[in-house]
């Protein structure tokens, strides 16, 4: 009997440990905690699909690790951004639109809201009446995206405080990374989230149209009750799924060492599972898509798996047990292309031509955020470039490795377009507008924010490779990731790490690329050869025998100083390589040889992507008409085609 009891106990323990292992939020070889856990959220949520609302109870345990007593706590209520007088709407309307959304047809039924009905602090009573909306960034009295509560007594350093909050989230029709579309729901930024005590003060910005989020690491235990025919996916791993017997079910999720929690639900979701074998064990890939997107399933899985492999090899391991990938339905573009911890949304469609790498472009980018936003949790309100920009750079590197540098976005109908060029063109549209160091939410406009945060950073880092080398920069990013994962590094931390790994003082570069708005533009101003004995009346020029003096002048047109390489080619096959520090406005190179110059090219590998104008980077002595003829032929065809189309109407 006793033996049986022991056996039963062992079996129970074994089953329990297997179940616990299966429910671990980490990859098999990872053990937490990985971060300094400041917050612990427990949320019990009820989703009502007809009204697109969630009523929930949130219990937040805040560990005061700030080293000082805290008596005031600010919270984000992001969904209140989708109200007519909110700062978010004001900024989005000012700039014309937001991502794919036009506010022209914005209706009251599209408004979103977070309503807190009860705010209690354990041991201090109901403080609902103490809640006060604040607008630390612009003083907008109608913005209700941040509220703060002053406690009756401070929370001492090292102590915990427990908040119990009852709230209702009303979702808008998909906008700005959250909301519903038909039966689909993406629940992002849906619960009251405490600000970050950072650098000796609370950092809790209002929700701005230009920027994203910033939060502390911790644990999340979230239960969602919803109709039982719904398929649900979320941050972390699913730990329970209980049928309530009344047509609903309650699904529980658990996540550790993350700083946000998002979930999605739709009865029409199709679940596709796969795995990735990483350096710290197997990771589950869970794709939520639709039958009509069947063509996209394999590209999604392949892209996630290949991206994970590149990141694992180059920057560091993905330590979580799962990555959930959401393929939003048609018409829900605003929900696409977004990142939350261990949870990303992509973008696809019923038909995407072969050769257009839209799925890879979006999916890789969002997966990259798992590193530069999810684990290296920078302040996106203030330094969006540290997430979006570094991520855009790694996106260029990963997509280049998939499809080649010149065709990583598109190789279709005879035309090619590479991601590095797309980032560069984005940057050049606003090259002299905003410096990177400026708080991102204060950038001039939506398009300028994109050009600077994404394009300029990626372009700046690609150009940096020309100075320190591609491998050194990769090593620097690896060091930066490993050193600052699960923390909140600053831009100084990033620059310091690159300086350290490269063994160089790159202040001259950071001063221009990070803190300045100088434009970089080099040109070949002159390249010609003349006989040395030009004064000889009897001179008969003969190839290989006549001596020439070749003059090459390189000119720095822009104010951005950058060392460049130049290649000078002669008609006898000789090649001269020149290195110019670019400090002066121009430099002259003179050659005397029995050959004439053929061509001069600055940066022949197109590595200095910050250069504003590639067209003037080279000069040839012979005419180059092939490209001109091609452009002319295509232009002529388009004119002819337009002409015959219009004449059809006449």
């Amino acid at each position: 009997m006793k033996r049986q009891l022991v056996l039963r106990l062992c079996l129970t323990l074994l089953l329990w440990s297997v179940a616990a292992a299966a429910q671990s939020p980490f990859a098999p070889e990872v053990k937490g905690p990985l971060s300094q856990r400041v917050v612990a959220y427990q949320i019990d949520a009820n989703y009502d699909p007809p009204t697109h609302t969630v009523t929930a109870t949130e219990t937040l345990t805040y560990h005061n690790l700030t080293g000082q007593a805290l008596d005031t706590f600010p919270f984000h209520l992001y969904l209140n951004a989708f109200q007519p007088k909110a700062t978010w709407i004001h900024e989005a309307h000012r700039d014309g639109n937001f991502r794919t959304s036009s506010l022209a047809n914005w209706k009251p039924e599209d408004y979103g809201a977070n309503d807190v009905s009860s705010f209690e602090v354990v041991g201090m009573g109901d403080l609902t009446k103490q809640m006060k909306f604040i607008s630390p960034d612009d003083g907008n009295p109608d913005d209700k995206t941040v509220f703060q509560v002053k406690l009756p007594r401070p929370v001492a350093p090292g102590q915990d405080v427990v908040f119990k909050i009852k709230f209702k989230a009303t979702f808008p029709e998909v906008i700005a990374r959250t909301g519903y579309k038909r039966t689909f729901l993406l629940a992002g930024q849906w619960f009251p989230k405490v600000g970050v005590f950072w650098h000796g003060q609370w950092n809790c910005h209002q929700f701005h149209a230009l920027t994203e989020f910033f939060a502390d690491f911790g644990t999340f235990d979230v239960k969602v009750t919803l109709p039982k025919d719904y398929v649900i996916g979320a941050t972390g791993v699913q730990v329970a799924d209980q049928d309530n017997g009344n047509g609903t079910k309650t699904v529980a999720f658990h996540a550790e060492d993350v700083h946000d929690f998002a979930w999605t639900a739709d009865p029409n979701f199709k679940v596709i599972n796969s795995t990735f074998d990483g350096s710290v064990g197997q990771v589950k890939i869970r794709l939520l898509s639709y039958d009509s997107h069947e063509r996209s399933w394999q590209p999604y899985i392949t892209c996630v798996r290949d991206s994970m492999k590149r990141f694992d090899d180059w920057y560091g391991p993905y330590p979580y047990a799962q990555i959930t990938v959401v393929d939003p339905p048609h018409g829900a573009g605003e929900a696409g292309g977004m990142e939350y911890p261990t949870f990303i949304t992509g973008d696809s469609g019923w038909y995407i031509p072969k050769g257009v790498h839209l799925i890879d472009l979006v999916t890789e980018h969002e997966f990259g955020h798992q590193y530069w936003y999810g684990m290296v949790a920078t302040n996106e309100f203030e330094n969006a470039w540290m997430d979006e920009g570094i991520n855009s750079y790694t996106e260029v590197k990963v997509l280049d490795s998939f499809y080649g540098a010149d065709a990583s976005i598109m190789n279709w109908m005879g035309a090619q377009f590479g991601e590095r060029e797309a980032q560069r063109q984005g940057y050049l549209s606003a090259a002299d507008i905003d410096p990177l160091y400026r708080h991102s939410y204060q950038d001039m406009s939506m398009s300028d924010y994109g050009a600077i945060s994404y394009g300029k950073t990626a372009t700046m880092l690609i150009s940096l490779e020309a100075i320190i080398g591609e491998q050194t920069l990769r090593n620097a990013l690896h060091t930066y990731f490993m050193r600052y994962r699960f923390t909140h590094p600053t831009q100084e931390d990033f620059m310091r790490t690159v300086n350290e790994v490269s063994g160089r003082d790159l202040s001259w570069y950071w001063n221009q690329a990070m803190f300045g708005t100088q434009v970089l533009d080099y040109e070949v101003l002159r390249a010609d050869s003349n006989p040395v004995n030009w004064f000889d009346d009897n001179l008969k020029e003969k190839k290989g025998e006549t001596e020439y003096e070749t003059q090459v002048i390189l000119h720095r047109k822009g104010d951005f100083i950058f060392p460049v390489e130049a290649v000078v080619k002669f008609d006898n096959g000789d090649i001269a390589y020149e290195h110019w520090d670019g400090k002066d406005r121009w430099v002259r190179y003179v050659y005397r040889k029995k050959a004439q110059v053929d061509s001069v090219q600055i940066d022949p590998q197109y590595r200095v992507t910050l250069d504003n104008d590639y067209l003037n980077n080279s000069r040839t002595t012979a005419s180059q008409y092939a490209a001109v003829n091609k452009v002319g032929a295509y232009w002529m065809f388009l004119t002819q085609f337009l002409a015959q189309m219009l004449s059809w109407l006449a």
């Binding site: 109908m413 590639y614 067209l615 180059q624 008409y625 091609k630 002319g632 032929a633 232009w635």
Partner: protein, 322 residues
């Protein structure tokens, strides 16, 4: 097989083939307009690339980055030169309005007109066809509005449907309806053009009304002709572009030839439509109108009156009794 035994589509093509000089001239003018329209942009490109190695990215493929550079860099600013393309496209439209009279007269007579006759016919109908062109704005605008309405409805339904395909197919259906309606309007106005030339009609409102009745009356037959020929145009366009996309990027002469072939095919099908419309009109509408005139004459002329025989006086009656 004699032309009168062929269907209007085949007979129209035979007529187009016999009078192919018209097609070649139209193509030459179109190419000239294309070349002149592209001229300023090409010159500007030459200034930027004729001594630059950056163009290699366009030669060995077609790098969109360099092309965007050509449009973005202020010293080149290629998009500014698209105006000349619009201008020369418009001039080609005017040219087509001008020569449509000559083309239709050539097809109607099925003989090579000398230059004088061709342009005399062109000039004679120019203003009438300008009026027709302006009048065609009305039905084309109505068709456009119908398309907008259908498209909006398709979006509305598609937005509420779970499957992507619903919206896509509805939008496609709306576009096909738009295309067919536009084709019908084109057919109607082509018949108006043909009729105006055949009857030397001066009143364009009257002409349009008569053409509407003709087109409506025989719409099934006529529309089939137009649909078949238009199908050839659409298919050749798609096939041409697919082949062109597979041409090696450095084979510019072949690429240029294919693009010109595509334009040529489009112009050819347009003139084929006109030739077929002329053939059909001559066979049906003209015959019908001749028959109508005969019937009218028959119905309105009283039958010849025969001389009546002299009346029989009959027997004399006896005198009445007093």
């Amino acid at each position: 097989m004699a032309d009168d035994q062929k269907g209007p589509v085949a007979a129209g093509f035979a007529l187009l083939w016999r009078r192919q000089s018209v097609l070649w001239w139209v193509f030459v003018v179109n190419a000239l307009c294309g070349a002149l329209g592209a001229g300023p942009a090409t010159i500007r490109t030459a200034r930027a690339l004729s001594h630059s190695l950056a163009g290699q990215k366009l030669t060995n493929g077609f790098d969109m980055g360099i092309f965007i550079e050509l449009m973005r860099v202020p010293s080149v600013d290629l998009m500014r030169y698209s105006t000349s393309s619009y201008l020369f496209a418009f001039l080609f439209v005017l040219f087509m309005v001008l020569v449509t009279g000559g083309i239709l007269e050539t097809y109607r007579q099925d003989r090579r007109l000398d230059t004088g006759d061709f342009f005399a016919a062109s000039g004679a109908f120019f203003w009438r066809f300008v009026r027709l062109m302006l009048l065609s704005i009305i039905p084309f605008a109505i068709v456009g509005m119908i398309y907008q309405g259908l498209s909006k409805q398709a979006d509305h339904i598609g937005d509420r449907a779970i499957a992507d395909q619903v919206g896509i197919f509805l939008s496609l259906a709306a576009f096909i309806i738009f295309l067919l309606l536009a084709l019908w309007v084109r057919l109607w106005f082509d018949i108006a053009h043909v009729r105006a030339v055949a009857r030397n009609e001066r009143g364009m409102w009257r002409n349009l009304w008569a053409s509407w009745r003709i087109t409506w009356h025989d719409s099934r037959h006529l529309f089939r002709i137009y649909f078949c020929i238009s199908l050839v145009a659409w298919v050749t366009l798609v096939i041409g572009l697919v082949i062109w996309a597979h041409v090696p990027p450095t084979a510019l002469p072949l690429s240029f030839f294919l693009l010109e072939l595509i334009v040529f095919a489009q112009l050819m099908t347009r003139l084929w439509l006109l030739a077929s419309a002329t053939t059909w009109y001559q066979r049906h509408a003209e015959m019908a109108s001749v028959e109508a005139v005969i019937v009218e004459v028959v119905e309105t002329t009283p039958p010849p009156v025969q001389d009546l025989p002299p009346a029989d006086p009959g027997p004399e009656l006896p005198p009445a009794e007093a």
